[in-house]
Symmetry: D4
Subunit: 163 residues, 8 copies
Amino acid sequence: MEPKVMIILGSASDFNVAEKSINILEILGISYDVRVASAHRTHEKVKKIVEESTANGVEVFIGIAGLSAHLPGIIAANTHKPVVGVPVSVKLGGLDALFATVQMPVGAPVATVGIDRGENGAILAAQMVGIHDVHVRTKLSKMRREFFFKIKKDEEKLAEKLT
Amino acid sequence: MEPKVMIILGSASDFNVAEKSINILEILGISYDVRVASAHRTHEKVKKIVEESTANGVEVFIGIAGLSAHLPGIIAANTHKPVVGVPVSVKLGGLDALFATVQMPVGAPVATVGIDRGENGAILAAQMVGIHDVHVRTKLSKMRREFFFKIKKDEEKLAEKLT
Amino acid sequence: MEPKVMIILGSASDFNVAEKSINILEILGISYDVRVASAHRTHEKVKKIVEESTANGVEVFIGIAGLSAHLPGIIAANTHKPVVGVPVSVKLGGLDALFATVQMPVGAPVATVGIDRGENGAILAAQMVGIHDVHVRTKLSKMRREFFFKIKKDEEKLAEKLT
Amino acid sequence: MEPKVMIILGSASDFNVAEKSINILEILGISYDVRVASAHRTHEKVKKIVEESTANGVEVFIGIAGLSAHLPGIIAANTHKPVVGVPVSVKLGGLDALFATVQMPVGAPVATVGIDRGENGAILAAQMVGIHDVHVRTKLSKMRREFFFKIKKDEEKLAEKLT
Amino acid sequence: MEPKVMIILGSASDFNVAEKSINILEILGISYDVRVASAHRTHEKVKKIVEESTANGVEVFIGIAGLSAHLPGIIAANTHKPVVGVPVSVKLGGLDALFATVQMPVGAPVATVGIDRGENGAILAAQMVGIHDVHVRTKLSKMRREFFFKIKKDEEKLAEKLT
Amino acid sequence: MEPKVMIILGSASDFNVAEKSINILEILGISYDVRVASAHRTHEKVKKIVEESTANGVEVFIGIAGLSAHLPGIIAANTHKPVVGVPVSVKLGGLDALFATVQMPVGAPVATVGIDRGENGAILAAQMVGIHDVHVRTKLSKMRREFFFKIKKDEEKLAEKLT
Amino acid sequence: MEPKVMIILGSASDFNVAEKSINILEILGISYDVRVASAHRTHEKVKKIVEESTANGVEVFIGIAGLSAHLPGIIAANTHKPVVGVPVSVKLGGLDALFATVQMPVGAPVATVGIDRGENGAILAAQMVGIHDVHVRTKLSKMRREFFFKIKKDEEKLAEKLT
Amino acid sequence: MEPKVMIILGSASDFNVAEKSINILEILGISYDVRVASAHRTHEKVKKIVEESTANGVEVFIGIAGLSAHLPGIIAANTHKPVVGVPVSVKLGGLDALFATVQMPVGAPVATVGIDRGENGAILAAQMVGIHDVHVRTKLSKMRREFFFKIKKDEEKLAEKLT
């Protein structure tokens, strides 16, 4: 069976950002796959992955790349499924990757999340999957409640520290 | 019947950007509604729109705002449906709105598209709707073919100009 | 009795900046309280803290947050008391948080101080409290004299070093 | 009688931004005065205005300046009353003025609002005056309700346009 | 016969920048061709143009694009001939296009020239062609002498103006 | 015999970036030489190196410099051979060097590659040399295949890690 | 007799900025000359002007240039007299020219003034000339008094407008 | 006897930058003095130092400061002697200090050098002193020759390393 989310990394060095995405998808129980394929160096491979995945039922793509970060845009050029882009900070604090990911021309949008923000890439993908999957929506609600609980505990720890 | 896409503008002055989204949704035949509600000035109203829309089956939100652009983030804080953010250029070429829209903390992502890029906000929303709607996907393909055709004609015009 | 200054952190990880504010408020003898509440993840809680604090006589709020930094703006949307915002550097040197904090629309200003500049957040809050509190003004004057004295001693040390 | 708010412009060319502040203070019925005095060219005058105003009961200062924008900082160096800074865009979209206004060292904060955002400078000043003035707070609430009403009417106009 | 320089525009709206390149190539008598092909919207076409041109003896490519500006990078991914990139200012003063063009990963460099600087794109291409073409080098020298002459005449006009 | 590529460093402290260029040129078997000469401090020397190298058959120059980074521009002012510029990050993440290298006036282009991207400087130079040298083109193709192979192995390692 | 200040423009299009410098020097009665000479296109000429001027007693140089703005740095490389640099806004709001002018390496400083700020370039040059010329210092004082007077009159006009 | 150059630091923490200035002035044998005085915290002291130094024959001031960096501007407001400004990187890579130092209004220029570039601050001051002091000019020439020699030795070391 095909995964619901296909994660593509521009370079193996982006894995620490991808790992954040993977952790979230594991928690939410959403099937995924991970590939490494450079928009510039292994261009044909990107195209092949995207076309096959689209045909086989992948619902959302996540492209993770730094620098001129063309990968998410190339994915978007080869599918009609939504593409999430995670800009990675390599130079200039990631501003180059942010611009290259988000400033797409009309017709090929990339759903860009924050710099190095792999978790949000996965949560956004999960929200898309969740449009028609109540199970995923329920898990997202649970995750949010846990965030709330964590913040409450952080505050309690802070309160102890301050008294 | 509830619309599939809910567009919320931070201010009536953002309407020229929203209009680009509306034009795309009209072409694609996706139902939508448009509201004006400021994240800071009519905060309760944003919350009410988002909660009711979520309950009534809206599939994707589009938040359009400039400056500190908290609107898409506030929408995201009140729903588990995906939220598309369109940063509007008012000051600093829209860099402030871009940062405020995209740099969200873990747990509340906003699917950010390019500055003033209302068309892409709508196309991205359509791609999300299209995950489970072959009719929308077909229309998206048709739109892409038309883009291709337009570029071909642009080139022909250019060729004439150059000879 | 309610504190005069309510400090709200967007995340427990902002505590090192909040600590600078706390140190100043301790020196100036101004009552304060500290909470952790995310604009996006525990939105209702922020609203509740702000409304109760406003009703109970808090005079100034300090919102401390990084990234898209909506917290100070959300506080401002829920009170007519002045709100001080301290942008925290997480990415892009804090430029994202600075823009998100300061570029507020008409009607909901945030009194923004420098990036990571928790001390100034507290001094500014103290100046506001001090408008009608001669005791606080006296302590602020004393603090300024001590800064002067410290600089004088720094120069003396430098003079020794140079001779 | 002394005014409650003293507005100082770095240059007569900043008047269009100051005018926005003045309009708000007129609506809120808060007494004010306006001066032109450059931090660099008429430095002694700035000092004199600030010291006399502080002694005579001015509660808040508003400094409006562009470029290297030292004026608000110079005001802050000469009073313990809170100082609001409004950066004006002359070059670089106002980024220079924003940085020069907000990035103050420990001990002399400037309560910075958005670029060219004279209205928010005045609203922030009014919030500070309002800490101990229920009359001003009431007027601020009324102003906020009117903003809400205006947005509601904007939406109605939009609704008509769309149908 | 194949042209020596192939100019590809990301969009017909970039033509005013391409025109500057064309003017220079006309002056230098270097054969060229111009195409419009978007990296994202007509991706296959870009690939086809580049592969055929490479096979047929094109010596240098010039890619002209704005915004996320992936076009020059896509050209570079499909040829071993040098690729010149001209970033076009559409948003953010062209900073987005500059970053997307120049910050390429190892293995696929783009020879980036200044924002909207179509002339320099062509001169750089001519210098590459000129490595093995003394005729082009001679024309480049002549062009430089004419620049010198123009500056001399500008100074003379200025001298008259000043006296 | 003269080298085909002349690398000039603005300062010996830029050597770590130059080393990346050297490694690539070694792999590709292209002859090169390396000099240290500051555009500002040993200006005559730069001129002499460039004029002699141009006369003796150097085909491409690579200028590597940080900060105001005038070196590549000065090289370009003294030759009609193409000049590759590699901006080095010393301050501001290398943004200063990038702007100073790429934003050249009409008539003296510098083929700018990414910040600290010495490898790409060399690959670009090799592509220029390769226009008329099938041997170099073959080696470039081989290098690209090896990149592809490396990415494939990275993915395999990742696959093992994930299972 | 040689002038005391030599103004060099990178391009005749920078003349509107140079005009501001000229006006100030006329008011202060300081002798000057103006030349147009591009750092890249007429490099030898820059060198010749600078060396002759230095030998003939020019006390200060003013270099005015936009974009990668190497001109002031090239002047500084050819003289031990102080060099004032005025960055001109052509692209990116003049940020490129500011960085290229100010971020000089150790040994060849350029005394940089604000973007397009020709007046300040001339005043700074006058201050340098004035170190040993009481006549110039007196005129500078007079100019400052007149600025003060102008601001006073601006304020009076404002006062009338407001009443 | 009064020193020729007066160095003022905004804060003792800027001493590492000042040290670079001091080393240069020591080499060039130019008398100097160093003070610590904050533009905002010990404003009266800055004024007193500047007025006394101006009266006693100081020829050039060097102001060294970070963040909103008003110190050099305040010095310039109180003297007609030239003022050199050295922006210090504390936040945002020093961009805030650079803007605050260089973007001065008409009438009070600051001769700005590069970020953290204390050496160039001193060399620029020396060039100003040297306008009427052949002894200083001679030492500046000697220093430049030594830079040249150092670069030559760097290149020789590099040559050994490469063979």
